[in-house]
Amino acid sequence: MKKTRRAVQFGFLAIVVGGIFAVGANCERWCPFGGVEGVYTYASEGNMLCSLGVSNFFILGGVLLITVLLRRAFCGYMCPLGTISEWLRGLARRLGVPGLRVPHRVDRVLASLKYAVLAVILVATYRAGELIFRGFDPCYALITMNSPQGTDIADITVWAYVVAGAIALASLVMVMPFCRWFCPMAAVLSPISRFALTRIERDAEACRGCGQCSEHCPTAIPVDQLQQVKAARCLSCMNCVDSCPRKGKGDGALRWRPPRWLGPRWPQAALIGILLACTTAAVAASYLFAIPSFVKTHGDPPAEVTQIRLQVKGLTCRGRANQFFYFLQRDDLWEVPGYFKVEAWPGPDLADVIVTFDPAATDERAIQRAITAPYYDAAADFARRDSPFRIEGYDPTEIDIDRELDALLQLP
């Protein structure tokens, strides 16, 4: 199981690293914690924060389902930060770096800090209306510097590197210190994990009391003193089961099992199957149910509407999506009259956008023109606002200026 877990960890890490460095994908959109941060704004406004997408909710849903079934298996198998942290300690151990044991009481106190971290992040994010802590986030720094909008790294603070360095250093002497004590995602998962369906069970009669299981537990659960491991911090890593010297002799002293109403026992391979099934389902749902992460409407819809689908460069986040909307709403000659609705999927490269409009009031060319042309902002002493957007396939030079002037001169 240990090797299998390593392989699964490596697989997920490879997907993340490959996504960032090779594909240049918008990895922020696949972070389950993005779903936690974005839930309030989405519920109240119908829009996702910054460059998050509805995919964050699907991934969060998948991770929550995994937690309901397998405790914090997400942390033990999927999270790249957890994997790197655990591997760093493994490497240090091989190099002879002694481990630091934290007394149980201190561990309990430190473990409660993650709830404070979660509360601070959620409140500050809600108040600011954006991902205010991402400048401190080493994952965000890594993703942003290697994404198509990599030049826009002004919001990455030196703290991102301090945090990354601190996690790496601490991981050399302790197993997963950030995951156990400070991770806000762990704070979300832990209360659910406590009531998860599967658990490790210890057969007290078969147990020799050697304590190997507790010794190998990355989250310092005293497995040898429990009949059932119901601890919220259990990662379902199976280190305890693998380390039990009775393993292979009949049933062994420890076994991983589902609730009794789901049968007497499951093979450990079922754990990997559930992980992969939940993740695949979440990713597939993100593509199957293409829900826009930004929706905004202007005016009342008429009886008949038309849609235009655009691929837009420069529409990278919620702020830019708002700006896109303002370019349609612009207060000048090229203002799009009548009703319109913008549904957008902001992205680092090309964003998909659907504009629904009143065909009696405007047309596709007028919409494309409004989006791409600069305007003078009356609200800012007529300062010029250049459009950061470019529409794929739209050639602004294909115009007849005389016809435009004629049309203008016919204005009432």
Binding site: D332, L333, Y376
Partner: protein
């Protein structure tokens, strides 16, 4: 590849790049030609040049924006004569003026300012017109516009500009007399403070010019500070001070204004920053 396909491909390429070849122009050259034509107020030709720049390099967002801007200016110019709704006419005029001033096309800005002042006849429209006239060296005209306001409509800003206009005509004693009579109020806006700093500089009150300039910069939002600094370092009114340490120090003044985090959206109701916004509840 078949020879016929290759030939068709080559012919297509020739047809596409033909306009550029005929002029022997790169995208950058077409762009620069367009800007020269804009400076000469030949907007139709400028539009053609900028279109050529876009066609030669479609990936350049600056070229696209410039093309769209010139196209818009042509339409705004036509609309200025057509628009009957005052608010829309005003926005058109102000947009055009903003463009002309930013491009340094003061002859066109002057025409718009005159029309704006004829319709508004206010201290701010007079100040705007006088600023353009001062930039063109029409100091007597500027003084005339500002004097015509009379004491009832005059403001500290218009008085400061009048002082500058008089000083530039050599009427130093009159200018000093006006300067001595103006004291900025505590609530003076940054535009007025900037005019007062220029006024003190032209009449030789260098210490007052620097202290007023410093106070002005402290009140300018951080995002606009560079514009003010750039204007001040190029302004002929500060020429006598430009090489002094005090002026360099004043230019380095940091803004004391906390810039609004308002995203200028259409509604405050969904904004999570609404609790901290000083203008919340204004119905926007």
């Amino acid at each position: 590849m078949k020879p016929s396909s290759l030939l068709i491909g080559l012919m297509t390429a020739v047809v596409l790049i033909c306009p550029a070849i005929s002029r022997g122009e790169t995208a950058q050259q077409a762009f620069e030609r367009g800007d020269r034509l804009v400076a000469q107020s030949d907007f139709r030709e400028a539009l053609q040049a900028h279109a050529a720049a876009v066609r030669a390099d479609r990936s350049n967002q600056e070229y696209i924006q410039r093309f769209m801007l010139v196209r818009q200016i042509i339409l705004l110019r036509a609309n200025l004569d057509q628009e009957r709704d005052f608010q829309r006419w005003y926005r058109t005029a102000k947009s055009l003026r903003s463009f002309y001033v930013s491009e340094g096309i003061y002859s066109e800005a002057l025409l718009v300012d005159k029309r704006l002042h004829a319709k508004m006849n206010s201290a701010s429209s007079a100040a705007q017109l006088a600023e353009t006239q001062l930039a063109m060296g029409k100091n007597a005209d500027a003084a005339q516009v500002l004097e015509a306001l009379g004491p009832s409509k005059g403001t500290a800003n218009t008085q400061a500009l009048l002082c500058i206009a008089l000083a530039k005509q050599g009427q130093t004693s009159e200018a000093r007399e006006i300067a001595a009579g103006i004291a900025p109020s505590d609530s003076a806006d940054t535009g007025t403070l900037y005019s007062l700093a220029r006024m003190h500089a032209v009449v030789g009150n260098h210490d007052q010019a620097l202290s007023t300039l410093t106070r002005c910069f402290e009140g300018v939002p951080p995002s606009r500070l560079d514009d003010f600094r750039s204007h001040a370092s190029e302004s002929p009114e500060f020429a006598a001070l430009a090489s002094t340490d005090g002026f360099a120090e004043a230019l380095e003044t940091k803004s004391k204004v906390v810039e609004s985090q308002c995203s200028a959206g259409s509604s405050c109701s969904g904004c999570p920053m609404r609790g901290q916004c000083p203008s919340s509840g204004d119905g926007r």
